[in-house]
């Protein structure tokens, strides 16, 4: 009979192997699904994983798009990963992303049409503050009243969505928009526009911020006592207590950082690629970032790679819809498989497979 035996310590090699196996298994299972839908499976996989980067027809457009899509995912996931490592579960990054965008765009729209060289940096600050403040609600409730931060942060996403739609049809609505919902377009407000730093590369300040966040998180976790405390709190809570880690401070730090980064991601998006506050501005980056964080093993470099991979499945998935008439649901199922297989293979980093013969266990 087959049984799972808990490893004394998580297997290092499985930790790194699991994401690769998950990607491979997703490709195989996805290919089977595409074949059942009557599409050429090899062509479908090639369209999703190869064409966005290497196709002569689309590559020059898709490559920058990968960075635009991956930027916010990585920025948010880095913040989340700190908390996740310490066992602090901020599930509401989507709400913090929205509130950051509202705070930053609100500042810009309040000053419109004044041209101000420091406007964009101020907006970034406002965006970070907006996200931070929204994350402080579950953070403070947790430290003061021991409420569950998973539930509170998640439910605050729905509150943020209501505020967003109120803003889009009400207090931030473009007065020259013909009665349609949505704010002024920040892309046509030079001081507030988070434009591409180098044209046609997709690199805007949000992408730069994501890279800085990756490096900062790496340094924090490897070199800083706070990073050590975060890891300790997650792996050995009792030891952390003995080592003098203040749990309340750790919670507020992790919630605050993840909220601020999500808020900044929202600001960079609204001031750049999205351009304006609209009713469905929140396109799910905050939730997808949770997958990215785990796919990247909660490790800064892993998250960088996972964010790019996730962006690839989005862009490639769209191409597959266009080129091969695959239904959108098949692409979503394909993305879901990735997380499913990752979790499945993760079992092996904590458990060993034992095949016992003869004797009853």
């Amino acid at each position: 009979m087959i049984r799972l035996e808990r490893r004394p310590a998580p297997s290092k090699s499985w930790t790194y192997l699991a994401p690769l196996l998950a990607v491979a298994a997703t490709m195989i299972a996805g290919a089977i699904m595409f074949a059942l839908l009557g599409k050429d499976p090899v062509l479908a996989i090639k369209t999703i994983f190869w064409d966005p980067v290497f196709s002569p027809q689309f590559g020059s457009y898709s490559r920058p798009q990968l960075l635009i899509k991956a930027g916010p995912l990585i920025l948010i996931a880095i913040g989340l990963s700190l908390g996740f490592r310490a066992g602090i579960w901020n599930i509401g990054a989507e709400g913090q992303y929205i509130m950051g965008a509202l705070a930053g765009a609100g500042l810009a729209l309040a000053l419109y049409p004044m041209e101000l060289p420091v406007l964009l940096p101020l907006m970034v600050l406002a965006g970070a503050l907006g996200g931070w403040a929204w994350a402080m609600i579950p953070g403070l409730l947790r430290t003061m009243f021991n409420t569950n931060e998973i539930l509170v942060s998640l439910l605050l996403v729905y509150v943020a969505e209501q505020i967003l739609s109120a803003a889009a049809v009400g207090f931030l609505r473009n007065p020259e928009g013909g009665g349609f919902p949505g704010s002024r377009n920040l892309q046509s407000y030079p001081s507030a526009h988070n434009a591409e730093i180098i044209a046609n590369t997709g690199i805007h300040w949000g992408v730069v911020a994501a890279l800085i966040a990756v490096i900062a998180a790496y340094v924090l976790l490897q070199r800083h006592i706070l990073g050590f405390h975060i890891k300790l709190a997650g792996e050995a809570p009792r030891a952390a207590k003995l080592a003098g880690v203040n749990p309340a401070r750790l919670i507020l730090f992790c919630m605050g950082v993840s909220g601020a980064l999500a808020g900044m991601a929202g600001l960079f998006e609204v001031a750049g690629p999205a351009g304006k506050i609209s009713i469905d501005f929140g396109a799910g980056y905050g939730f997808t970032a949770i997958i990215v964080a785990f796919l990247g093993r909660l490790h800064p470099v892993g998250i960088l790679l996972a964010g790019l991979l996730m962006a690839l499945t989005y862009i490639g998935g769209e191409l597959a819809q266009l080129m091969l008439s695959l239904p959108a649901a098949a692409i979503q199922a394909f993305q879901g498989m990735l997380l499913f297989f990752l979790l499945a293979f993760d079992v092996f980093s904590h458990y060993r497979l034992r095949i016992a013969t003869g004797r009853a266990a």
Binding site: F58, Y61, Q65, V169, G170, R173, F180, A274, I279, Q321
Partner: protein, 353 residues
């Protein structure tokens, strides 16, 4: 601008004449193609287009595209795959179409229900308020509680026009009628639509109109009693009750005409706003749950709109606060209708803002 248009069209027709390849037609939908309403109807029109032209047309479609940067990417990718004409079928794609159209002067863009246009960027919409005039007449006569309900999506002119048109025509046939408007802030959310319908019924409403896209309101009415209408699609599976009639979006003739124009090299930018007379707004068969006099009254309103003798927004009409809008016999012009952002006198509640 005229020169670049001529150049663009010259280039496009030249390419077509040379290789005889099929015209590539792109469609972008905001919802899933099986939403039972708005997106499904655009998709079905696309399928009809394909049947009409056969191998002369190649369809590329993308469903469930959010109205934001994702739409811009999808439109760009469609243009890059060699689409000759792209129909963006939701109002929220407007700015994205504008920006992508500027980058691809040789591709024709058609945007549904917006107000912007450009040399290679046309917009098209339907005068749904004409259909609402017919539905409002029916609702006003069919309600026994004198309360009709309205599921509104977003506070945009198109939706506000529909509410106003419904109310004034219900009021014409039933002076005691009241309208209850519920704002849902979504085009498609069956659960929310069902809940709101139930809430309206509990407030004594017995006829519900919807400006959302699913069949959930009719399904709820079927269980709880009361009447409703098909929206965007005929929804005939709910006839004869609760579905009394329907407003059907029929985009197929327009799509065929525009794609034909691309083939002929005669495509030009335009702002099209068609109603019942042109067939873009279809009125679904009156159900047998409607007494003869209701059918006759509804038919009369419809006929007078079709023959042009009657405009649904004809004065005297006042705004909600009592200030005059249209004088006796005055007819609303298209510009005023396109930007309508106020309720008419008698509609209760406030437009959210």
């Amino acid at each position: 601008m005229a020169t670049s248009l001529a150049l663009a069209m010259g280039a496009a027709t030249g390419a077509l004449a040379q290789n005889g390849e099929p015209v590539k037609v792109g469609f972008v939908y905001v919802g899933p193609v099986n939403d039972g309403g708005w997106s499904q109807h655009h998709h079905e029109a696309a399928v009809k287009l394909k049947e009409h032209f056969g191998d002369a047309v190649e369809l590329i479609e993308q469903e469930s595209v959010p109205e934001g940067p994702d739409a811009e990417r999808v439109l760009t990718q469609m243009a890059l795959t060699g689409a000759d004409i792209i129909f963006a079928t939701s109002f929220g794609y407007m700015d994205q179409v504008e920006s992508v159209a500027a980058k691809f002067p040789n591709v024709k863009f058609e945007h549904a229900t917006g107000f912007k246009s450009g040399p290679n960027f046309a917009n098209y919409s339907a005068r749904f308020y004409e259909g609402r005039a017919v539905m409002g007449t029916i609702a006003g006569m069919m309600t026994e509680t004198d309360k009709i309900g309205y599921l509104a999506s977003f506070p945009i002119p198109e939706v506000i026009r529909g509410i106003n048109s419904t109310y004034i025509h219900a009021k014409k046939v039933n002076p005691d009628v009241e309208i209850r408007v519920v704002w849902l802030n979504t085009w498609y959310d069956p659960a929310k639509e069902a809940d709101a319908t139930q809430a309206l019924i509990e407030q004594g409403v017995d006829v519900v109109l919807a400006h959302t896209d699913s069949t959930a309101p009719l399904a709820t009415l079927e269980k709880s009693g009361g009447y409703g209408f098909g929206q965007a699609a005929d929804m005939a599976q709910y006839a004869p009750a609760p579905r009394l009639s329907s407003i059907i979006d029929d985009w197929a003739p327009y799509y065929e005409e525009r794609v034909q124009a691309v083939m002929d090299g005669s495509w030009e930018t335009a702002a099209t706003w068609s109603g019942i007379a042109d067939g873009m707004v279809g009125i679904g068969a009156f159900s047998d749950a409607m007494p003869e006099e209701v059918k006759a009254a509804a038919q009369e309103v419809m006929d007078s709109i079709v023959d042009g003798s009657y405009h649904p927004f004809t004065g005297p009409l006042n705004k909600q606060d009592g200030t005059p809008w249209l004088a006796e016999g005055e007819v609303a012009d298209d510009g005023a209708l396109a930007g309508m952002s106020f309720y008419l006198e008698g509609v209760t509640g406030e437009i959210p803002n």
